[in-house]
C-alpha cells in the first residue's frame, strides 16, 4: 500500500501542493484527476522521488521513501514501474532493448532469461513483433505500450502512469486503459494513474482523487463521481458538452 501524508510543495512563491494526503491499495487502480496546473504531475513526481516536497511523507508499505536511507530508497525504486507521459523511451535503443534495459542494469539474470522476460512483456502489451524497431519508427500508442512493458518488466508492486491517454485517439486510449486495468488485476499492483480523460475515470477509476489548486477537494470512485456536490469537480467533469447534456436529461 502507498500512503501519502500532508504533501506540501512550492515553486518560489507558488504553492503547488497544499497538504495532500491519501492511501492507495494493492490491486486497485487509483486515479488522480484535475485540470491542468492543479499539481497532479508534481504529486506523482513527489511520490516517485523526482521532486522532493517541503513537507510530508510518502510511505510504501510503511517504509518512508523520502527520509529512508539509500538502500531503502533503492529497494523501493526497484518495486516501481513508471509510464511517463511521452513514453520516455531511449531513442538510441530498439524497442526490446528499451524493455530489457531495467533488467540489464538492475539484475544478474542471464541474457536468455532477460530476453525471455522482455519478450513476454512485449507480448503482454501486444507488441511481440515490434521488438527490433526503433522508438522513432512506432506510433504514439505503441510507445505508450512499450513504456508499459518496460514499467512491468521488473514485476513492480507499484505502477505509476502519467497521463497514459494524452495524445491518443479514443480507441487506442480505451485499449491502454484496459491494459492498465488488466495488469493491475493480474499482478495485484498498486496502480496510480494521473489523468483528465473522462473515459478513463468512468472505466478504470476504482478510486478517484480530485485535485483543485493544489488541494484534494474530493475522493470517491467512478460510481459516486457524478453524484458529487463539489462545484469545482462538477465544472471539471461537465466541461464536456455531451456529458453536460446527458446529465440534464
Amino acid at each position: 500500500m502507498i500512503e501519502i501524508k500532508n504533501i506540501v510543495k512550492s515553486f518560489g512563491d507558488r504553492t503547488v501542493l497544499a497538504g495532500i494526503s491519501g492511501q492507495f491499495k494493492p490491486g486497485e487502480t487509483s486515479l488522480i484527476i484535475g485540470g491542468s496546473g492543479t499539481g497532479k504531475s508534481v504529486l506523482l513526481k513527489c511520490m516517485i522521488g523526482l521532486v522532493t516536497p517541503e513537507e510530508g511523507e510518502v510511505l510504501y508499505n510503511g517504509r518512508n521513501f523520502l527520509t529512508g536511507d539509500e538502500e531503502t530508497q533503492k529497494s523501493i525504486r526497484r518495486e516501481m514501474g513508471v509510464l511517463f507521459q511521452g513514453g520516455a523511451l531511449f531513442d538510441s535503443k530498439t524497442v526490446i532493448e528499451n524493455v530489457r534495459f531495467p533488467l540489464d542494469m538492475l539484475t544478474d539474470m542471464s541474457t536468455a532469461e532477460k530476453n525471455e522476460r522482455a519478450e513476454f512483456c512485449l507480448q503482454r502489451v501486444g507488441l511481440e513483433k515490434a521488438g527490433d524497431r526503433m522508438p522513432s519508427e512506432i506510433s504514439g500508442g505503441m510507445k505508450k505500450r512499450v513504456g508499459i512493458a518496460r514499467a512491468i518488466v521488473m514485476n513492480p508492486k507499484y505502477l505509476f502512469c502519467d497521463e497514459p491517454n494524452s495524445g491518443l485517439d479514443p480507441l487506442t486510449s480505451i485499449k491502454i486503459d484496459e491494459l492498465i486495468r488488466e495488469l493491475t488485476d493480474e499482478f495485484k499492483v498498486t496502480t496510480i494513474v494521473i489523468t483528465h480523460d473522462m473515459n478513463s475515470m468512468m472505466e478504470i477509476g476504482e478510486k478517484i482523487m480530485f485535485l483543485y489548486q493544489g488541494k484534494k477537494l474530493w475522493e470517491g470512485n467512478s460510481d459516486t463521481l457524478t453524484q458529487s456536490n463539489v462545484s469545482e469537480l462538477n465544472d471539471f467533469i461537465y466541461a464536456n458538452k455531451l456529458l453536460r447534456e446527458q446529465s440534464h436529461r
Binding site: I48, G49, L50, E70, Q73, K74, R77, R78, M80, V82, F84, Q85, G86, A88, L89, F90, D91, F101, P102, D104, M105, L106
Partner: protein, 243 residues
C-alpha cells in the same frame, strides 16, 4: 558563482553511486566512436589547412635574407605543437562534440528519458556523462596527435607547392632545436581541454528545462562556455608550464 557551485556538485555526482564497471565499457566505446572517430574528418581538414596557412604566413613575415628558410618549418612545428593542434582542435571539438553532447542530453531531459533513469534508481549523471568524459579524455589527445601530424604535413605541402621552402630545408628545420616537452605540453592541454569540453557541455545539456527552444539555447551555451573555458585554460597552462 552559483553556476560554478552547481557545476562542481554535478562533477561530484559523476563519481558517486556508479554502476557496474562492465556497464561503462560498452558505453565508453560508443562514445569514443561519437567523439573521436566521427571527428577525424573535420579535424584533419582544419589541421591540414592551418599548417599550410601558417607556413605561407610565416614565410611572408620573414623578409630578411639573413634568416634561413629552415626557420619556417621550425615555427610551423612549434606553433602547431604548442598552440594550433591542441587549441584549435579543441575549439573545433567544442563546436562539434559540445553541441552534440548538450543537445543530446537536453533532449533526453525534456523527453523524460533522464527521469526514467532516475526512477529506476540509476545515477543518470554517472551513467550518461561519465562515459562521455572518459571517451573525450581518451580520444581528444589522439585527435591532437593526428592534428599535429597533419598540420606539419600541411605546412610541408604548402611550402613545396608555393616554392617558399625546399623539402630538405623543411625537414632540416623540423629537426632543429626540437623540445620534446612541447609534445607533453600539447597532450596535457588536450586532456584538460577534453575534460572541460565534455563536462561543461554535459552540464549545460543535463540541466536543460523547457522545450526544444531551451535545448537549442543549452547547445549554444555549451559551445560558448566550452570555448571560453578552453581559452582560459590555455592561458593558465601556458603560464604554469612554459616558465
Amino acid at each position: 558563482m552559483s553556476h560554478l557551485g552547481r557545476y562542481l556538485i554535478f562533477l561530484r555526482s559523476l563519481f558517486h553511486n556508479r554502476e557496474k564497471f562492465s556497464v561503462y565499457v560498452g558505453l565508453v566505446i560508443d562514445e569514443c566512436m561519437q567523439i573521436g572517430i566521427n571527428s577525424v574528418f573535420i579535424v584533419a581538414i582544419v589541421s591540414t589547412f592551418i599548417g599550410g596557412v601558417s607556413c605561407v604566413q610565416t614565410a611572408y613575415q620573414l623578409v630578411s635574407p639573413l634568416i634561413p628558410t629552415t626557420i619556417i618549418s621550425q615555427i610551423v612545428r612549434d606553433t602547431t605543437l604548442l598552440e594550433f593542434a591542441p587549441t584549435i582542435t579543441s575549439i573545433v571539438l567544442s563546436g562539434k562534440v559540445g553541441s552534440s553532447i548538450a543537445s543530446g542530453l537536453g533532449t533526453m531531459r525534456i523527453t523524460e528519458q533522464i527521469d526514467a533513469l532516475e526512477v529506476m534508481g540509476i545515477n543518470s549523471a554517472s551513467y550518461l556523462v561519465l562515459p562521455k568524459v572518459v571517451a573525450a579524455i581518451i580520444m581528444v589527445p589522439l585527435l591532437v596527435i593526428l592534428s599535429a601530424f597533419l598540420s606539419i604535413c600541411g605546412g610541408y605541402v604548402a611550402g613545396m607547392a608555393t616554392g617558399i621552402v625546399s623539402s630538405q630545408d623543411f625537414v632540416t628545420g623540423l629537426q632543429s632545436n626540437f623540445q620534446p616537452f612541447n609534445i607533453s605540453f600539447a597532450l596535457i592541454k588536450a586532456v584538460v581541454f577534453a575534460f572541460l569540453i565534455s563536462t561543461i557541455s554535459s552540464f549545460k545539456g543535463f540541466y536543460t528545462s523547457g522545450g526544444a527552444l531551451e535545448v537549442g539555447q543549452a547547445s549554444t551555451a555549451a559551445v560558448t562556455n566550452s570555448c571560453i573555458a578552453v581559452l582560459a585554460a590555455d592561458f593558465i597552462l601556458a603560464q604554469l608550464l612554459l616558465q
